[in-house]
Symmetry: none
Subunit: 122 residues, 4 copies
């Protein structure tokens, strides 16, 4: 299910992009599958159709979905573009940290620590 968290400060349209990418990366949405229409999803999530349209437009320009006027939006053949997009922010954070002189080992330690924290939460 595509969803958003209103308390999250990241823009809604970006939350939508990520949510769709997650569905694709997880295999819940596959090549050729039709996404809910912008209006439909907007009503479902209590959003303005324009906001959904913006998200869909961005996903299209990234080659993750394609839109057909009058028919709907469909997931494109994606060579892992969806999961790439999910790790986009992470990649730039890594670059930044490395540039700042933090060693790769330290970064990996941080990941392991947070990963354990997350397991505990379950």
């Amino acid at each position: 299910m595509i969803s958003i968290d209103p308390s999250d400060k990241t823009p809604i349209f970006e939350q939508l992009c990520r949510s769709v990418c997650r569905e694709i990366a997880a295999g819940d949405l596959r090549e050729g599958d039709r996404l809910p229409s912008a209006r439909e999803l907007a009503k479902l999530l209590q959003l303005n159709p324009n906001t959904v349209a913006k998200a869909y437009g961005l996903l299209e320009r990234d080659g993750i979905i394609y839109s057909v006027a009058g028919k709907g939006c469909f997931v494109a053949k994606h060579g892992g573009k969806a999961s790439e997009k999910l790790t986009e922010n992470f990649r730039s954070a890594v670059r930044e940290a490395l540039d700042a002189g933090v060693s790769a080992e330290e970064l990996i330690e941080i990941i392991k620590a947070q990963s354990k924290d997350k397991e505990r939460e379950r």
Copy 2:
């Protein structure tokens, strides 16, 4: 040198904070060293003095620098806080990626790849 990238989307005051932290973490600025005055730095980087003042204010609040009225701003003890602040962003990126369902292994792979890329550049 404290510097700014105008095309970077992160707010300028935050770029300033990070830049100062980087200098401290790298040892170019040491405990007790005096930072350039807000007005000085503003003129140098073509910025609004308020922006620099805001950055200095945040750094002081975080205990990374301290200000002496009429004399200027100086690097505080506890240099560790500076490098902590640098990895802050990285931590949140990790959390975000894990929440998005990316595995810790994948993230570690990305770090290793980027780390190698960086070595090659040398």
Copy 3:
């Protein structure tokens, strides 16, 4: 074969027109040949029969095909019109580029480059 690319932004009825013109220009369809019926083609390409009918209507209006009530649509004489229609788009793109201030020489360069690329693909 008459075919359609759903991810292509040009309207489907126009894709149909061009596809038919291409068949004629290539000699795969000749004067007097019968086209598949609108219903037939619609089922084959998973389209709305109205869409196919619209395309056939336009082709008839342009004198490229003619319809005989109760019998079907047939390729008209004057095959030259088909290839004219194919270069129509190109002509308007040229006009657009020239209006935008691009020189004829630059455009010719682009053609030569793409033409070479295409040879290489073989």
Copy 4:
């Protein structure tokens, strides 16, 4: 001057993109130059600021300009990206024509003819 033609059927935001690209390609706008603010340009051209913002946003994602919140939009260092964008439609029209079996020579003839027509108009 950035301008639009209301009688032109191509979307306004795209006309804006092209107009800016033309200014850059012609050298009237250079690296680092500031574009008119979205609101300013909107008032000037009798448009909605959102429409201008959309155009600016697209130019930014194409790396032709970059925006700084609170300051404005500036033309980026462009490796000819602006003129590439101007010929984008032309390139795809060429590909299409070549795929349809039209020879490069024929296309060049068409350009020469249209180029002459345009000269006559002067």
